[in-house]
Amino acid sequence: MLKLISLVAAVIVWGLLSLTLPPEIFPGPIETARALWGEIAGGRVGTDVAMTMLRVVAGLVLALILGVPVGVLMGLSRRAEAMLDVWVMIGLTVPSLCYAIMAFMWFGLNEGATIIAIGVTAAPSITINIWEGVKNIDTRLVAMARVFEASRAVIVRRVLLPQIYPYVMASARFGLGIIWKITVLVELIGRPNGVGFKLFYWYQLADMRLVLAWTLLFTIIMLLIELLILKPIERRLFAWRPQVAV
């Protein structure tokens, strides 16, 4: 309910602010929604949204494949931590644009390069989350499991992993947020389709109605993913957790 009120309030503020500038530069919510509806009704969003989604998902998978093992390693071994933490920092610092340019120059203007650029950019922030998570593992529970003669596999599966899940979940969520932004940027500089391409296209034609329409579309899709996919997963995984009463 509160969510709904705040959304409605945001739309009203947007409407009021848009009155301060001419509509072709800052269109209001109604005009933007109408433009968006025009795009959807005209069947012009399907391919671009699908391509962007594909890159986002593939990029996220790659980022997790790269980021999780490094994070686990750094959490487990002091030596690995000392060796790798500076690289994680460097990885975080290099702008995504640089990764995109390098990927396109080295691997060509193709989907593979796009996904590599996205995955590599997002991996360090995933690593940091997992690293923290592994460091916070309660080793007293591991000792408990060993007393009960639990095998190594059981300890990993039933004692360690459940402690890391929250961090994997948080980093996937956090990673997704970053990845959306990178994907749009990468599409802008090197792909002939996708949401980023469309944004840039309408920007070049100076059509702010459609720039905002695509931004809105994008935001709605993200919200839906959060509410319909991530939240329910989280609720199921962490049903055991106490409710924090404030």
Binding site: R140, A145, R146, E149, V154, R158
Partner: protein, 277 residues
């Protein structure tokens, strides 16, 4: 009584990061008979927990001999150490599965020990939904339901409030009388040791300083004056060894040149205060 725990010349050295090494267990000898209830009494940091870890097989880097021949070991830690994402029932299942107890016996074992500790109605609760005392009780059920030959307990009641701890001690004694497990119980509380044990070993600085039998007949009552008198004697004679640990009770600062008698009185008060007498 045939011995189920035999420790000879057990020595354990910790190597610090700065290269300095510290001997935490100094040539310990210990024999515990089947069905015996032994308390190891000593201050924090005297090596009690290290000894238990060796007996439990958690720590394998030691010199000397330590053999436990009573089959499986049950361990009760200072904290309950329950898996927070599993219900009470799930936590018991975890232990039973890890120890490879045949599935056909699970429900009988769980019911039996849950009933013994009064937790039968809490099977579906998560650890955060029950009190600290109940969580520790559940940990005791978990240790018992894998049917260990011996039970190792590392200050299991020191984190509980005194009323709860008292009840747990009495319950532990009745469970012990019913099951006749061999128990090695580590504590820094002299009163607790005198109430529970058949035999007390006073430990400090990695060595046993003294060994004594507890002559109080069973069943014992927690309010029994004999327990109080014995614990006072234990503190009097080994006060130096066991009185010095950082506790929640503020001891008066001892002046230089204080008499022996004064020191003993302070320790006595300290312990009495800790035990809420």
């Amino acid at each position: 009584m045939n011995p189920v725990i035999e420790v000879t010349s057990l020595r354990k050295i910790f190597n610090g990061r700065d290269g300095a090494s510290r001997t935490v267990l100094k040539d310990l000898d210990l024999t515990v008979g089947a069905g015996e209830f032994v308390c190891i009494l000593g201050p924090s940091g005297c090596g009690k927990s290290t000894l238990l870890n060796v007996l439990a097989g958690l720590d394998k880097a030691y010199e000397g001999r330590a053999s436990v021949s009573a089959g499986r070991v049950g361990y009760l830690f200072q904290e309950p150490r329950l898996l927070p994402w599993l219900t009470a029932d799930g936590n018991l299942d975890f232990a039973l599965a890890s120890c490879r107890v045949p599935g056909s016996r699970w429900s009988e074992l769980k019911s039996r020990y849950l009933a013994m500790t009064g937790l039968s109605d809490y099977r579906d609760y998560y650890p955060h939904q029950i009190s600290g005392g109940m969580a520790q009780r559940l940990a005791l059920v978990r240790a018992l339901c894998v049917e260990p030959g011996i039970l190792l307990m590392d200050e299991p009641f020191s984190g509980l409030d005194e009323i709860t701890a008292r009840r747990m001690r009495s319950d532990l004694l009745s469970i012990w009388q019913e099951t006749r497990k061999t128990i090695v119980f580590v504590t820094h509380n002299a009163y607790e040791a005198c109430f529970l044990a058949d035999r007390i070993l006073v430990m400090s600085n990695g060595a046993f300083r003294q060994e004594m039998r507890v002559p109080i007949p069973r069943p014992r009552s927690y309010e029994d004056i004999a327990v109080f008198e014995l614990s006072r004697d234990v503190i009097r004679s080994f006060g130096d060894e066991i009185g010095r640990e950082p506790g929640p009770v503020v001891t008066p600062v001892t002046e230089p040149g204080i008499t022996e008698q004064g020191l003993v009185d302070d320790l006595d008060r300290h312990t009495a205060a800790r035990m809420n007498i």
